[in-house]
């Protein structure tokens, strides 16, 4: 009750300030400040930066957790982080990397680029876009607060029951997992929905489906996967919350529950999730490889169909994570064959990339290096994936370091390389500055070598009998050297990442603005200034084919032909409601985690409901930018 009163007083106080009842000057200063601008923005380009930067921040957090784990495993019988502490590290590492690093970085690139690539002025639901980001951020914050308040979750990123039930994990750790992921999951879901509608409804005239750049295509399929996969996670987390907080019995076998249902629900979500994080990376690769080979993408149509097929098959294979559960030879065989089938469309993509480079004129910029490094690395990860898909063999690999090696080859060698490639490629578009190429190449080489040094040996750890999720291992059975090498490799990745951080820092201090089209690009985003004006396109472009900007350049035109006369442009107004609503969810989550004091939780929900009503009754017609303003701002640069 005490907490409630304090919070209420605080809330009243803040209301007083923000309605101007307390000090009007202060309010004005707040409203014109940069911080307020970023908190209330609904501009997809700013939201992109928020997403990407917080994703990268969490990547460092997750990386430090990984570093700690590898330090514990550097020698056998080490005692740096043992028992539950190690389990907390590995759980938070996996959860942070997947949900708070990989996905937000992907959303960052999607937000920055997709509207530009389809020739749109914004996303379909700018407000929802902002809400999606703030929900993700609130959830991520909540999850990481667990380190300070009561201990982090420690049942693995898969959080299998019954270990994750109260009886075996009595602390609040798993509650943070459940509520943190639930909140950020809602954010992700509405984000994906937003992109689907954007891509379907807001394409510029002439931008047919088979003219969409591959990054847009992969974003589209990824969004569809999000749409259909996240509800399964929502349900799983909901049921686990019921079990933990409200005494339900879904997963408690002594009351008739079943732990296997958790596994089903988790993997019905979890397998599509891994394609959610890889497909946009495929998209980045397609753009980068085509641009820096100076060639049209080889087999564009089959690339599109392969993407759709991967997305579709992704829903039919979840049981390959459960081969050792004992579901019987029939389902194991069926799901094994379905899993193997995914190698075919993926192979189509790989060969198309290779043949895009064939006959091209390859420039090894940093972005291209990451794309080129990606190919063999990802293929190795995919190959081990196919090996894992064979149930009898998987009885050996399952839950061993072989699996750890597999998924880091695809997640780091695939997704992270993809995000880095995308970062170097689109940095000028996002920030208006070019990243330093020398530092970039240093980043690439240290990261690549460190990566292989870390994870290649781990295949052997698995084959030599080292289970995953262990904080120590026996000495004298041939595991020491390999673990040592593996740990040494992490320093390569750390140095590489530090170089990237330094590169960002250095770039922000550089004066020179990036040109609109620094790479001789092919797609629409390069037809407008770097960074683009808030309305993106002064006049919507008319698209005449695949690689529209390239086509115009080849035809000798300076830029895109406009599809409409210069006119007044409608813009959505900024809103503080997304932050407020997310704050409500955050408070609610926190309240429910602090058991026995549901008052705070309910207060949070009340905030959510109030903001929802405010939004519903709000009549926001945005504002307009008039042609004169556009011409002033846009002198010389044509849209």
């Amino acid at each position: 009750m005490g907490t409630l009163i304090v919070l209420l007083v605080l809330a009243l106080f803040l209301t007083a300030i923000f309605t101007g009842g307390y000090n009007k000057d202060f309010l004005d200063r707040v409203k014109t400040s940069k911080v307020w601008d970023w908190l209330t923005t609904v501009d997809h380009k700013k939201i992109a930066i928020l997403y990407f930067m917080s994703g990268f921040f969490f990547f460092i957090v997750g990386g430090i957790e990984a570093l700690f784990m590898r330090l514990q495993l550097i020698v056998p019988h080490n005692d740096l982080f043992v028992g539950d502490t190690f389990n907390e590290l590995l759980t938070m590492h996996g959860t942070t990397m997947i949900f708070l690093a990989a996905m937000p970085m992907i959303f960052g690139l999607m937000n920055a680029i997709v509207p530009l690539q389809i020739g749109a002025r914004d996303v379909a639901f700018p407000f929802v876009n902002a809400l999606g980001f703030w929900l993700f951020f609130a959830g991520g914050l909540l999850l990481n607060l667990s380190w300070i308040f009561g201990g982090a979750p420690d049942a693995g990123w898969t959080s299998y029951t019954s270990l994750a039930l109260n009886e075996y994990s009595p602390g609040p750790g798993i509650d943070y997992y459940v509520l943190g992921l639930q909140i950020s999951g809602i954010g992700t879901l509405i984000g994906g929905l937003n992109f689907l509608v954007t891509i379907i409804n807001l394409r510029a005239p002439g931008m047919t489906y088979l003219r969409m750049p591959l990054f847009t295509w992969t974003s589209f399929v990824t969004s569809a996967l999000i749409l259909f996969a996240f509800p399964a996670l929502t349900v799983a987390l909901l049921l686990l919350m019921f079990d933990r907080l409200f005494g339900a019995n879904f997963f408690d076998y002594t009351m008739g529950g079943s732990t296997v249902i958790w596994q089903h629900l988790f993997w019905i979500f979890g397998h599509p999730e891994v394609y959610i994080v890889i497909l946009p990376a495929f998209g980045v690769m397609s753009e980068v490889i085509s641009t820096f080979s100076k060639k049209r993408l080889f087999g564009y149509t089959s690339m599109v169909f392969a993407t759709v097929l991967i997305g579709f098959l992704g829903f039919m294979v979840w049981v390959h994570h459960m081969f050792t559960v004992g579901l019987g030879p029939v389902s194991n065989s069926l799901f094994a064959v379905a899993t193997m089938a995914i190698a075919v469309p993926t192979g189509i993509k790989v060969f198309n990339w290779l043949f895009t480079m064939w006959g091209g004129e390859i420039r090894f910029t940093t972005a291209m290096l990451f794309a080129v490094g990606f190919i063999p690395t990802f293929v190795m990860g995919g190959m081990t994936g196919v090996m894992l898909a064979l149930p009898p063999a998987d009885y050996q690999y399952q839950d061993s370091y072989f699996v750890v090696a597999h998924f880091h080859y695809v997640l780091v060698g695939g997704t992270v390389f993809g995000m880095f490639a995308g970062a170097y490629y689109w940095w000028p578009k996002m920030f208006g500055k070019l990243l330093d190429e020398k530092l970039g190449k240093f980043h690439f080489w240290t990261f690549l070598i460190g990566f292989h040094l870390t994870f290649f040996p781990q295949h052997f750890l698995g084959l030599f009998g080292m289970p995953r999720r262990v904080f120590t291992y026996q000495s004298g059975v041939g595991l020491e050297t390999i673990n040592l090498i593996s740990t040494i490799g992490v320093f390569g990745m750390t140095i590489g990442t530090l170089a990237f951080i330094y590169n960002i820092y250095k770039t922000f201090k550089v004066e020179a603005q990036a040109p609109a089209d620094p790479w001789n690009g092919r797609t629409l985003e390069w037809a407008i200034p770097s960074p683009p004006p808030e309305y993106n396109f002064a006049q919507l472009p008319r698209v005449r084919g695949l690689d529209p900007f390239w086509l115009e350049k080849q035809a000798g035109n300076k830029g895109m032909t406009p599809a409409e006369p210069l006119g007044s442009i409608h813009m959505p107004s900024p809103s503080y409601l997304p932050v407020l609503m997310s704050l409500g969810f955050f408070i609610a989550g926190f309240g429910f985690i602090a058991r026995g004091n549901y008052a705070v939780g309910i207060l949070g929900l009340i905030v959510v409901v109030i903001t929802m009503f405010m939004r519903s009754f709000e009549q926001d017609h945005g504002y307009h930018i008039e042609p004169e303003e556009i011409e002033d701002a846009n002198k010389g640069v044509q849209a």
Partner: protein, 332 residues
Amino acid sequence: MSRQRLWRALLVFSLAALALSGCSGDPSLNVLEPSGTAGEKQLNLIMWSFFLMLGVFAVVITIFVYVLIRFRKRKGQDRMPEQTHGSTLLEIVWTVIPIVLLGILAVPTVNYTFELADAKPDEDSIRVKVTGHQYWWEFEYPDLGVKTAQELYIPVGKKVHLEIHGKDVLHSFWVPALGGKTDVIPGRVNTMWLDAKKPGKYQGKCAELCGAGHALMDFVVYAKEPAEFDKWVAQMKQPAKVATAAQKEGEQLFLQNCMGCHAGVNPKLQGPDLSKFGTRTTIAGILPHTEENLKKWLKNPEAVKPGAKMPKIDYLTQEELDALTEYLMSRK
């Protein structure tokens, strides 16, 4: 060029890693050196798929290297590459060949999957009921009337039929050198079979995250010649005698302090059966079986195995502890 040097360095590094790891690995814990039929079948499939993958990888990497060298932009060059759309023939090739390869791979996969699932015990197979607990293993031979923990004895050459039970959280039963793993699932009975072709000591592991002590939830499989196995069974059925005075005192202490858990009275607080503890070679599956280690364990189990569900026995006097240890070690 520094780029070339880096490439070479990368190559050397990975080869070194390969060589270093290739020559290690221990037969007691090695998937690549199986000593049982199930493990051999699995290794077969692993090698099969590995070489297939290696072949595909070789193709990819050959094209890859060729393309990177041949088509890189040279100094001063400014060529306009032909903007090809694709090639239907090539695309069909790299769709159909993988389908064929995967089809070929699918056949042994499905076969083995069914073979390994065929876990019905036959005439002379040994049946064992395995139960995974946080963080120890219980083995019961229902046909032989023997019950033990942490150490699974099996006769060489006979099919061992395992019935896998769980009570608390998920675990996974894994003996890398004998065959793959099967999950321990509370409220569900799983089955698997394995055999050992050579006598020896094989290390077993818990392969599913089960809490703080998961990393140390080890067990040992002893494969014995059938005669020796029978001897072991006979010994296990023979009740141990209490001979010396110290042992008597130890027995008393044991009855007072330990029976609650170690006699299987309380299903929620269950510890391993210790009635033949003297025959063991490990303590709690991880420490060598010495008096010193036993004392270390008793004084603070959590220090040995994080999360262990046994309380500290640190309230005994030195004599009492000696007596208790002697008693336990005499249970042969």
